[in-house]
């Protein structure tokens, strides 16, 4: 069977892009939570 040529079907590639976004968005969520908690304390 021929491998699919669409990059969106390459599971390691998809996993790498998803993990990147998950880690970056996860950290952004932490930063925003801290930011809002700090502002609420003022």
């Amino acid at each position: 069977m021929q491998a699919p040529s669409n990059p969106m079907f390459h599971r390691h590639l998809v996993a790498a892009y998803c993990v990147t976004w998950a880690l970056q968005l996860g950290y952004l969520a932490y930063v925003v939570r801290k930011h809002l908690a700090g502002r609420a304390r003022l």
Binding site: A3, S5, N6, P7, M8, H10, H12, L13, A15, A16, Y17, V19, T20, L23, Q24, Y27, L28, V31, V32, K34, H35, G38, R39, R41, L42
Partner: protein, 252 residues
């Protein structure tokens, strides 16, 4: 300032969206690795981000150590400047660790697909893991200790920790182990095909802009927290000074 922040975020997301489009749908795949090579467009910017933010952490730590005991600097309150530098150091260390984690995980996924293994104790991978652990120790120190001595200690740790960064960079030049030879600035036969470069530039710009946005937001909240701690400390000192006087009055 707030508008500028939102504008920066909008521009960052637009650059990242275009970076994704160019990386997946526009540039050609590699002749040897096929579609898998497109991991490079997220893998390399994460190392660039790590390099930038650890360098920023180093600069802020050196500045903190240089000015922490001074009263005035450039006609401004040196203590406030030192606090700002310390906040920059923490925000940039966190951002650098996030980029380093992304680089390690995407590299591991790439390794699994290309070499058949998730991990190997190769010079580049090992030195990077050590770097990650050093900065994790730095963040743990900052999380579980408090006060000016913690800031001084963490600044010193940051300087020693950064010594591993050139080692990571040079590891693929000094030792030929599992990790491929450097693609960028690696010598006469290194480099990507020019047709692939737009994906590198777009994603590099997008992720660095993203890093600056998130680290900027984190810096603002860390600095605010530092100021609140300073005020609480001063209040406690004032209270201590007041107490003996109150005790004296009670005795009289």
């Amino acid at each position: 300032m707030k508008h500028l922040r939102w504008l920066w975020l909008a521009a960052t997301l637009a650059v990242l969206a275009n970076g994704f489009r160019v990386a997946i749908f526009v540039v050609p795949s590699d002749a040897e690795q096929g579609e898998l090579s497109r991991i490079l467009y997220y893998h390399v910017p994460s190392w660039a981000g790590m390099g930038l933010f650890f360098a920023l952490n180093l600069a802020a730590s050196v500045f903190y150590l240089a000015v922490r005991n001074r009263t005035r600097l450039w006609g401004r309150d040196a203590h406030a400047l030192a606090l700002r530098a310390d906040s920059i150091a923490l925000a940039s260390a966190e951002m650098g660790v996030v980029f380093c984690t992304v680089g390690l995980v995407t590299g591991s996924l790439w390794g699994r697909a290309a070499w058949g293994i998730w991990w190997t104790w190769d010079a580049r991978l090992t030195s990077t893991l050590i770097l990650w652990l050093i900065y994790l120790a730095y963040l743990l120190l900052r999380r579980f200790a408090e006060g000016p001595s913690m800031r001084t200690l963490s600044a010193v740790l940051a300087i020693f920790g950064y010594l591993d960064v050139p080692l990571v960079y040079m590891s693929t030049r000094w030792w030929r182990t599992q990790h491929p030879a450097p693609v960028f600035a690696g010598g006469p036969n290194s480099g990507l095909d020019p047709s692939m470069m737009p994906a590198v530039w777009w994603n590099l710009a997008g992720w660095l802009m993203w890093g600056l946005f998130v680290a900027g937001l984190r810096y603002a909240s860390v600095y605010r927290e530092q100021q609140a701690q300073e005020r609480a400390g001063l209040r406690a000192l004032a209270q201590e000074e007041l107490e003996p006087d109150q005790q004296h009055r009670q005795l009289v």
